[in-house]
Amino acid sequence: MYTLTEDERDVLQELMNVAYGNATAVVADMLDAFASLSIPKISIIQTEQLLETFDTLKSTSYFFSTQAFSGEFNGESAFFINKESAENLAKHLELESPEDIDDAILELTNVLTSSLTTKLAEEMDTAVSFSLPSISQIPLAEMHDVVTFKHYSQVIVIDTDLNFKDQQINGKIFILTKDESIQWLKTKLNTILELLI
């Protein structure tokens, strides 16, 4: 089991902030509106805790999308957005059909995953490629049945809020990785740390 030291967490937070700055700009472009992303909160948790975290997401119905990424640093990102936020997003983009809403959520997932991992990979001198994201709408009660989560031992949780001037869209993104990726990440973070000192 891996945990991040305070220094490692600081570096990761710094990298994430840069990545998020990038993401914010893209999201703003995409949505053609002034958007801000709250400073992400980063933690590494066990998968069991992840399921508990899902339980604390009080809203009854969540849209849930995932996107796998490959390379030296690999895993899957999971993006959660509640019904109300999804509807706000659709309203903003003037989308009407449910398929279009799903498409917009996938786009947001893709933008967030790409900006985060690409930037992160870039800073850490590696590259990632992305699979197509997929979406499902599942009640939180069934979240425990999502078997794919069980393939991951630890999860980097990046918790952020997207805020728009006129309407709130709240989403949470979780980067799910296996032990070897976290080990790789720790090594990279330490290389960066050594360069800084």
Partner: protein, 517 residues
């Protein structure tokens, strides 16, 4: 060196071109205003359009289904992100309308497409769209989706059924360690416990004071051997009331045949037990009533012989007083008295025999039963002028509890005889007829003693019901009913019309031994 590089470049270009031409994907190069820059062979073949015809044209003008705003947004995002954006078949279905030419096994008219929008040339704002046929996958997903819906539906039904079972069926579950792992709502309501108070407790340990040692061992053996086992158990409710359950152990297995534990299904038989006890009391009362009946019949039988003795004694007395008693008269009188007292004694023996329940069934002639065994009733019938007609196959045997059957027959015929006291009739009769059927034999006993009203008929087999004004206990026919149905495993019904009453008995030819309770 430079030449090599050029060669390498041109070769790469050649490979790229060949791959783009032959790949099983649509490849389309667009700028951020949706103008077409490249249209590969795959697209030409699938859309029936030539690259030279579409080149430089607006994609959304060629294919009007395309949402211009969304596509431009995706292209701009890809260029801005330096990373691909996507359309997925699951949400967007398709970008370029291509008719599916496979007719079977598909529920889609148009090819379902995944589209990756890849930044291609950042200076010229060019992107490449790579289109992948996902129709098969979409078909599979659609099928899966319909199955999932079906499963959910079934699951809802199952949950509903489980709820109903929980509310209606009394059961508790034991895990492999014989600890209580679940209890149904229905059971909890009967024993007034909260589930939490009982969960995790060792079943046998908890019931150790309620089950005797022998039964505890049998239950443990059944649990260990994963056997079905039935037993009765007395237990206490949380309110301290005693409750009797008929329990059945049923081992529980999962779909893979692994033993999960044992379910104990329970049936509350407390009321039934109490009823059985009440029934026993009624039967005991009816036995004493039968004794009373017997005594009255003995008294009846004795009246005549006793008066005979009395007459002989009086004659002897007078003759003695007149000094006319000769030895011959004296001896013949003594002999008469002796034979009469012997007859009296035999009468008692006969009755006692008939009213003693048989331990074992035996085989006997039915005709004999209706002829000899009810001799005393025959006397009464003669006195009353009742014609007694018996129609029974001579050699018909029955294997049953003889005395119980005699008691019942006596009861029925005695009822008929008694009924004649209430009516004035010239042609009185009691007819007995026995018919041999395939599975059983049928006995009908008919009298013309006025019949019984329909309302009364419904109640004749109930305990303590009687129409006799003075000496009826109301237990005679109830006892008959109990004997015929429970001991002799037969049926009894009574019918009445046009002043006649018929009692019908159905009895097995051979009673299976061991059923006597």
């Amino acid at each position: 060196m430079a030449q090599n590089e050029t060669q390498h470049d041109s070769r790469t270009l050649d490979i790229n071109k060949k791959v783009v031409e032959n790949i099983d994907n649509g490849i389309l190069v667009l700028d951020d205003s949706l103008k077409i820059h490249h249209f590969n062979r795959w697209l030409e073949l699938h859309t029936n359009m030539k690259e030279e015809d579409v080149s430089g044209k607006q994609l959304d003008a060629l294919f009007t289904n395309i949402n211009t705003k969304t596509l431009i947004r995706k292209i701009k995002t890809a260029l801005r992100l330096h990373s691909p954006t996507f359309y997925t078949a699951s949400t967007s279905r398709y970008l370029i309308p291509i008719k599916v030419n496979k007719l079977t096994g598909t529920s889609f008219e148009y090819m379902q497409q995944d589209v990756s929008i890849i930044p291609f040339n950042l200076e010229q704002n060019l992107v490449a769209l790579i289109i992948t046929d996902q129709t098969n996958m979409a078909n599979t997903n659609a099928l899966l989706h319909s199955h999932i819906l079906k499963i959910k539906e079934l699951n809802t039904e199952l949950i509903k059924e489980r709820d109903t079972i929980d509310k209606k069926v009394l059961f508790l579950k034991l895990n492999k360690e014989r600890k209580i792992s679940d209890l149904s709502q229905a059971l909890l309501e009967q024993i007034y416990y909260d589930k939490e108070e009982l969960l995790g407790l060792d079943y046998l340990h908890r019931e150790r004071y309620n089950l005797d040692i022998g039964l505890q061992k049998k239950i443990l053996d059944a649990l260990l051997e994963k056997r079905v086992f039935e037993y009765e158990e007395k237990t206490q409710t949380a309110h301290g009331e005693e409750i009797i359950f008929k329990s059945s152990l049923v081992p529980e297995y999962n779909a893979y045949g692994e033993y999960l534990g044992t379910i104990i299904f329970r049936e509350n038989i407390t009321d039934a037990k109490h009823l059985a006890q009440t029934q026993e009391k009624v039967l005991a009362t009816s036995r004493s009533a039968a004794m009373g009946e017997m005594l009255s019949m003995i008294a009846h039988q004795w009246r005549q012989p006793l008066s005979l003795i009395n007459t002989i004694m009086a004659t002897l007395k007078i003759k003695t007083q007149l000094n006319k008693l000769d030895t011959e008269t004296m001896y013949s009188s003594f002999e008469k008295i002796e034979s009469t007292t012997k007859y009296l004694s035999e009468t008692i023996d006969d009755f006692r025999d008939y009213f003693k329940p048989n331990k074992l069934a035996s085989e006997f002639l039915l005709s004999e039963l209706f002829d000899n065994s009810i001799f005393f009733l025959k006397d009464e019938m003669v006195q009353q002028g009742i014609a007694y007609e018996v129609n029974i196959p001579q050699d018909l045997h029955i294997y049953t509890y003889k005395n119980e059957l005699i008691q019942s027959i006596i009861n029925i015929i005695k009822n008929s005889v008694d009924a004649f006291y209430e009516v004035e009739s010239t042609k009185k009769y009691i007819k007995v007829k026995v018919t041999e059927l395939d599975s059983h034999l049928a006995i009908s006993i008919e009298d013309n003693a006025g019949g019984i009203e329909q309302e009364t008929l419904k109640k004749v087999f109930e305990p303590y019901f009687s129409t006799k004004s003075n000496n009826g206990t109301g237990l005679g026919l109830y006892m008959c009913y109990a004997i015929i149905t429970e001991h002799l495993k037969g049926h009894i019904v009574m019918q009445s019309k046009n002043g006649t009453t018929t009692t019908l008995l159905e009895l097995p030819y051979k009673l299976i031994q061991g059923e006597h309770s």
